[in-house]
């Protein structure tokens, strides 16, 4: 009786191992067809047009470059720079928003048209952007970020700007700077892999914390 039970157990475990192995072979053979989806779905774009202000977080240099480029091309005349004051970028304690502001002025943007705000995350970015837009009566804003960040940015900005007359335009420009690998092979760069996985971790967390959010 015992031998019979042991035999059944061995067969059951054996079947599971074979199934696992077949599943692994399936993943190995087909991942190039479905894995890109996990990168593609994160990218959200809306048609680009002129707006009252361009909003960008200084979390990455290439998104800042793209934001400044949009101003130089005439898509807007105003720039909102967002960054975390807790993170000094140099031994003197200056942070990236300081350097971003200097560079924007150096690129010919009038300093009167540059707004700077401290923010520790995407929700903070959205709130700061809404506060600036409301206080100045702006009707449209181009929100610039990295491609893989756009789904979460659109979700959070959409929630924070709910009920506001401000039209939001979502724009990314990182492919031309070669910063990240494109969706068809996002997992083959450590930087892009880390970025995409973090977005998938943060999306449900931000969705959960936004559930009861009501704009002020």
């Amino acid at each position: 009786m015992r031998d019979f039970k042991l035999g059944m157990l061995a067969r059951s475990v054996g079947k599971k191992i074979i199934l696992l192995f077949l599943a692994y072979l399936f993943v190995l053979g087909t991942h190039r067809f479905w894995l890109p989806w996990f990168g593609e779905i994160l990218i959200v774009e809306t048609p680009l047009k002129k707006a009252d202000i361009v909003v960008v977080s200084t979390g990455s240099y290439v998104r800042f470059l793209h934001a400044v480029d949009l101003l130089k091309k005439g898509y807007s005349g105003r720039l909102l720079l967002l960054g975390d004051d807790r993170l000094p970028a140099d031994p003197q304690g200056k942070n990236l928003t300081h350097y971003a502001r200097e560079e924007a002025i150096g690129e010919g943007i009038d300093e009167k048209n540059i707004f700077v705000s401290h923010s520790t995350g995407t929700q903070g970015d959205a709130r700061a952007a809404r506060a600036i837009a409301d206080s100045h009566g702006y009707k449209s804003a181009i929100v610039v970020s990295d491609g893989y960040n756009m789904r979460r940015i659109a979700m959070i900005f959409g929630k924070v700007f709910h009920g506001s007359p401000v039209e939001l335009i979502f724009e990314h420009g990182d492919w031309e700077y070669g910063e990240y690998f494109p969706p068809e092979r996002w997992w083959q760069s450590p930087y892009t892999f880390s970025y995409v996985v973090k977005e998938w971790i943060k999306l449900p967390i931000d969705f959960y914390f936004l559930r009861g959010f009501e704009p002020a």
């Binding site: 240099y61 975390d84 807790r86 910063e179 997992w187 083959q188 760069s189 450590p190 930087y191 996985v197």
Partner: protein, 195 residues
């Protein structure tokens, strides 16, 4: 489950400190770092390392224009002399920032070390990056003829791990480190050419 919940702060602390590696060493052929510090210059003057390999940033990469960069090759050579490091003992290695790619970095570095007859090297790194450095060194640098040690560039780094999970800036940095190591296994399982 109850045990995990009750010891969560201890577990989280250990998840943070796992990222820090600090290996003792007596002597090595070279120190590899992104800038020369008093500590590194002292090692050289004390005879505990024969050469310094300095990795400097390529001027052509995308970087904040007004943010002080790490030194160019000539600046690095000039500063090294002030620290008492002979020109012949300084090897300047050009690295590009932008897309982080530990694998191509270590493959290039391995070639450089072999060409310069370096068989042992100490790698200085920010404290939270030392585990990742050790991880990739074990897979891409270590082998017959090259021994490596990883040392934190900061000395009193343990306090940075106190309640790190309440600081979103550190959350992101630490998560990045773990994901960069997970990248290796993910691509290995998929037989990807990336690793």
């Amino acid at each position: 489950m109850a045990l995990v919940f009750s010891s969560r702060e201890f577990l989280l602390y250990r998840i943070g400190t796992f990222l820090a590696v600090d290996q003792p060493f007596e002597k090595a052929d070279a120190v590899v770092a992104s800038k020369i510090t008093e500590k590194i210059a002292e090692l050289y003057r004390d005879g505990r390392c024969g050469k310094i390999v300095l990795s400097v940033q390529d001027d052509n990469v995308n970087w904040w224009k007004f943010l002080p960069k790490s030194d160019s090759m000539e600046d690095a050579r000039g500063k090294a002399e002030k620290w008492g490091i002979r020109r012949d003992d300084l090897i300047v290695f050009n690295r590009t920032s932008g897309i982080q790619d530990d694998i191509s970095y270590f493959n290039s570095l391995k070639k450089l070390l072999r060409e310069n007859g370096i068989h042992s090297a100490v790698f200085y790194s920010p404290y939270y990056k030392t585990r990742r450095k050790r991880f990739y060194l074990d897979r891409y640098l270590d082998g017959p003829g090259i021994e490596s040690y990883v040392v934190s560039a900061e000395e009193n780094y343990l306090q940075a791990f106190e309640r790190w999970w309440e600081n979103t800036a550190l959350d992101n940095l630490f998560l990045d480190e773990y994901l960069t190591m997970a990248f290796y296994y993910f691509n290995k399982i998929l037989w990807s050419p990336a690793v």
